[in-house]
């Protein structure tokens, strides 16, 4: 009996076509080996919104009877490979489809693989992923967060590179030659098969031991039964907030503690508390009421509520007072205001570094941007990372 499932964890809408292409090609390639399969998106993720974490699945079995075990379900119970097409998702995913924060490796089986497209070093990714009590592997395909497949973006071969790597890390799913044959049927571009083979040769595989990773307990929520729920589908309104973190002065709104949204974020605002003019615009314009008002009248963005839309940066009238910075450089959701109060010099030095990072990424057009990217960004990024073009 052999049923093998893989998942692609992706950013809603931007990466849906990419994920769909990967999963469909897996199943079509499996047919070439006489296997059968199914491909489907996580229904509850839909309707998708820009950037929300979402999932697509491919399941392959030796025959239809075995496949039946996996049908009429929203997702497999476990996957041999978790493919992550945006490395910020390694911090965990909260979606429309379930409650709580799901560690990126939650469905990954013992000895399975988390396969990530990233230009981050391995140790930085391990630090992001929640601790698992069984060993598994981390594989990295050096590359950008691709929007390939979305109609306005160039095909950057991310799908075929992932498939090539997949043949290496999970050979019992589908072998390399079946992928190459299927890719050749789908595209006249001979380079695509070449990219798949090269990814097969180059993908790195490293073990992740139990206990390695982010030790935090992901937030969760127990759903009540029908005898305990309020009746008539009535949901009480959110109460009025109080003082800053329960103390004197300031204001902190009451927030939804079962749907936090921060795993949607790919950039976060960093605040210069020393140039802030207390104009209130970030606080007023933030669509998610992320900003706490501190006792001294400053604005501290709550990183459990921020989905990284960047409105605060756009409306702030003070240069570099609010700067959106690539999420991958952060390890936790701790308060910037706390950091600043504790260690002003240290905070300001760190802030300067963050602003430099943000500006240099903007200059080469290779960093993150909230919202849509511009034409040509990928070519620049590929040149910068040396991912392609060296043979």
């Amino acid at each position: 009996m052999a049923v093998t499932a893989v998942e692609v964890v992706y950013r809603g809408i931007f990466q849906k076509s990419l994920s769909r292409n990967i999963c469909r090609t897996i199943v079509l390639a499996a047919r070439k080996e006489g296997k059968i399969g199914t491909a489907f998106g996580r229904y509850g993720d839909s309707p998708e919104r820009n950037g929300i974490p979402a999932k697509y699945f491919a399941i392959v079995a030796d025959d239809p009877t075995e496949l039946e075990e996996t049908l009429a379900a929203y997702e497999p119970k476990e996957v041999a490979v978790t493919i992550v097409v945006d490395d910020t998702l390694c911090k965990g995913v909260e979606s429309w489809a379930w409650y709580g924060l799901q560690p990126i490796n939650e469905l990954t089986v013992e000895g399975g693989t988390v396969l990530v497209t990233s230009i981050q070093p391995e140790e930085d990714l391990v630090k992001d992923m929640h601790v698992k009590d069984v060993p598994y592997n981390l594989s990295i395909i050096k590359g950008a967060k691709s929007f390939s497949g979305l109609w306005v973006y160039k095909d950057d071969h991310t799908d075929v590179r992932i498939l090539g790597a997949l043949a290496k890390v999970c050979p019992n799913l589908v072998g390399l030659e079946a992928y190459v044959d299927t890719i050749a049927e789908q595209s006249d571009d001979e380079l695509k098969a070449h990219s798949a083979r090269r990814a097969y040769d180059r993908v790195s595989v490293s073990p992740v031991e139990p206990g390695q990773g982010n030790p935090e307990e992901p937030f969760s929520f127990d759903k009540p039964g029908w005898t305990k729920m309020g009746e008539a589908i009535v949901i009480p309104g959110i109460e009025v907030g109080g003082g800053f973190r329960g103390g004197e002065g300031g204001y902190q709104p009451v927030r939804n503690d079962v749907f936090k949204k921060f795993s949607t974020r790919t950039m976060r605002p960093v605040i210069n508390f020393e140039t802030c003019t207390k104009c209130t615009l970030c606080w007023l314009q933030c669509p998610d009421s992320c900003f706490d008002v501190t006792p001294e009248g400053l604005y501290d963005s709550d990183m459990e509520s921020c989905c990284g839309c960047g409105v605060c940066e756009d409306v702030c009238p003070v240069p570099d007072c609010v700067t959106m910075v690539n999420e991958e450089v952060f390890d936790d959701n701790s308060s910037q205001h706390d950091h600043w109060k504790r260690d002003r010099d240290g905070y300001m030095k760190w802030l300067d570094e963050m602003i430099v990072v943000a500006k240099s990424e903007k200059e080469v057009g290779a960093g993150r941007s909230h919202g849509f990217r511009e034409w040509g960004e990928y070519q620049k990024q590929i040149e910068m990372t040396g991912v392609a073009g060296d043979d």
């Binding site: 489907f40 030796d62 009429a72 009540p224 029908w226």
Partner: protein, 406 residues
Amino acid sequence: MTTEVKDTALEREELISGAEAIAIACALADVDVITAYPIRPYDTVMQFVSKLIADGELKCEYIVAESEHSQFEIVKHASAVGARVFSGSSGVGWFYAFEALAVTCGLRLPVVAMVGNRALDDPGAFGCEHNDALAVRDLGWMLRWVDTAQEAMDAAFMAWRVAEDKRVFLPCAISTDGAFLTHSQQIVMIPDKRLVDEFLPPYDRGEFVLHPDNPITIAPQVNEDWLMEIRRQTDAAMRRARDVITEAHNDLKRIFNRGGDDPFIEEYMTDDADVVLVGMGTLALPLKVTVRRLREQGRKVGFVRIKWFRPFPQPELRAVLSRFKAVGIIDRDYSLGSPDNGGVLYNEVRSALYDGDKRVPIVGYIAGLGGREVTVPMTTEMFDYTQKVADTGIIEEPLRWIGVRD
């Protein structure tokens, strides 16, 4: 064991969803008029219909109406002038069309629709429930439930063939479980157009066609002096549908080599069974898995899937179910305040068996509402309780909700 890849001149293989399968069936059946109005999960079929039209593979009048009511009014009228039609909806969208749905039956117009089964709002929910399609069960709509994308496609061909048969001329809805069928891509064998043409003759409205060369009036106002006879005619048409379905099923088997043994029901490992469960739609898939697992433990269990809900397979169920020691009926629907507070299927099956030769003990299960997965542990729980009823002959709880948080 491996699964052979089939690809011959007479059929081709594709990885498609149930919604896409039905859209392709529209192209192969040369549908003339398609109307649409978006609501999940039915609306995936709109995407594929649009794509087929854009790709030049489907030539039809495609009208995105301003509401479901107009959507079904348009196909009703198109059908009256002799056009082959297709439409569909889900959940409360189907209900918004209810007036049009009701009048279509009396006018004997062979509208074919896909219902992407969805829970009825409120609360807003996209998941599968069967109450939407079941709501038209009394009106003269033929109702078909399918469990795979392949069956969705084959059922669409069947639907036009039966609905457009002069002996029937009734609308037919194909129920496809939201998400599990509408959105999941499976391997489907797509027949060549030549095979479809052999199976499905052109729609011929004959002397009923609304056309300037054939001056007729349809849908007049009547009073108590006419309506009962009209209803009795519609009733007779529904009764005749049984034989037409059987004929079509036999042709489907001959031409496409698919469709199973019986047109109305599918029996799975029932030959020596003591206890069987009965259900409709994709819950058949976890149920078959459960049956195989329990069989490995030596338990004599089986499953019966109902394919046609209207016309209801009373003779088949009476003959088949009386063989067992106890039967459990699974409803992915509810009928609040009904006998035993059971589901629609539960009460229909019990009624169908009331004056049979042997009255088998029946229990009901409500499960999978709002698209909740019907899992192997849930169906095992159903088998366990039904077995207890078989062993003791006592029904303590005629109706149980399975998989609900207390």
